[in-house]
């Protein structure tokens, strides 16, 4: 199962903070997963926004990556604390 986390404003957009799902048919990479989630939750391209970073198993990725189906995936809009 994929474990997906939506942080910050993305959780408002997706209507959830997390979800678990099996790799959908036709989805084999981060880019195809983003498109699939965009359609499923009606995200209006929010995951494609340049400011949104993707983490696979808690590491930032800088290019598209093939998915096995058991990853933890985090979608991170701009961060900031303090």
């Amino acid at each position: 199962m994929l474990k997906i986390y939506y942080f910050g404003r993305l959780s408002d957009r997706a209507g959830r903070r997390e979800e678990s799902l099996a790799l959908p048919v036709g989805v084999n990479s981060v880019s195809t997963l983003k498109n699939w989630l965009d359609t499923k939750h009606g995200l209006g391209g929010a995951l494609q926004d340049k400011s949104v970073k993707t983490m696979i198993n808690q590491s930032l990725i800088h290019k598209d990556i093939v998915l096995q189906g058991d990853e933890e995936i985090g979608f991170l809009p701009p961060v900031g604390g303090g």
Binding site: F7, D12, M55, Q58, P77, P78, G80, G81, G82
Partner: protein, 146 residues
């Protein structure tokens, strides 16, 4: 030393405990951030983290500070969860034999926390809720160190 907590903390007590541990340092710089907002404009601030990722990032920033300045030790306490106006969000304290090193490393860690630390801020007021992201000034402050 890093602590991320979802309950209020007492900055003065924490700073005293920190001082006790680094008496040979001589110079202790610190920064306290409070939830700001005129009463009526902001009623609540909610901070979200990515458990594991947030801690690792801050620990790395502390290690960077220790490489860059001769520090005895450094402390970051950061709130998550729900906070009211006037409550402490963050305490950063750095100890060194040298005043400059203490000030600069505290400043550096605050710049990291403002722009790169993995937190999301949700501000709730009478007009609804909005997500707060770093200002342009915060990114400029941070670029002083690169």
């Amino acid at each position: 030393m890093l602590e991320i907590m979802d309950t209020p903390f007492n900055p003065g007590e924490r700073l005293n405990a920190f001082s006790e541990k680094c008496k040979d340092a001589g110079a202790i710089a610190s920064f306290i951030g409070l939830v700001r907002g005129q009463k009526g404009e902001v009623s609540e601030l909610r901070l979200e983290s990515y458990p594991g990722v947030t801690e690792q990032g801050i620990e790395q920033a502390i290690e960077q500070a220790k490489k860059r300045w001769p520090l005895t030790t450094a402390l970051v306490i950061h709130r998550i969860g729900s906070m009211g106006v006037g409550e402490p969000i963050v305490l950063v304290a750095t100890a060194s034999k040298h005043r400059r090193a203490a000030f600069e490393s505290c400043d550096f860690l605050m710049d990291y926390l403002k722009t790169d630390a993995v937190f999301w801020k949700h501000q709730i007021g009478p007009d609804g809720a909005k997500w707060i992201e770093p200002r342009e000034q915060d990114y400029q402050d941070k670029n002083r160190w690169s």
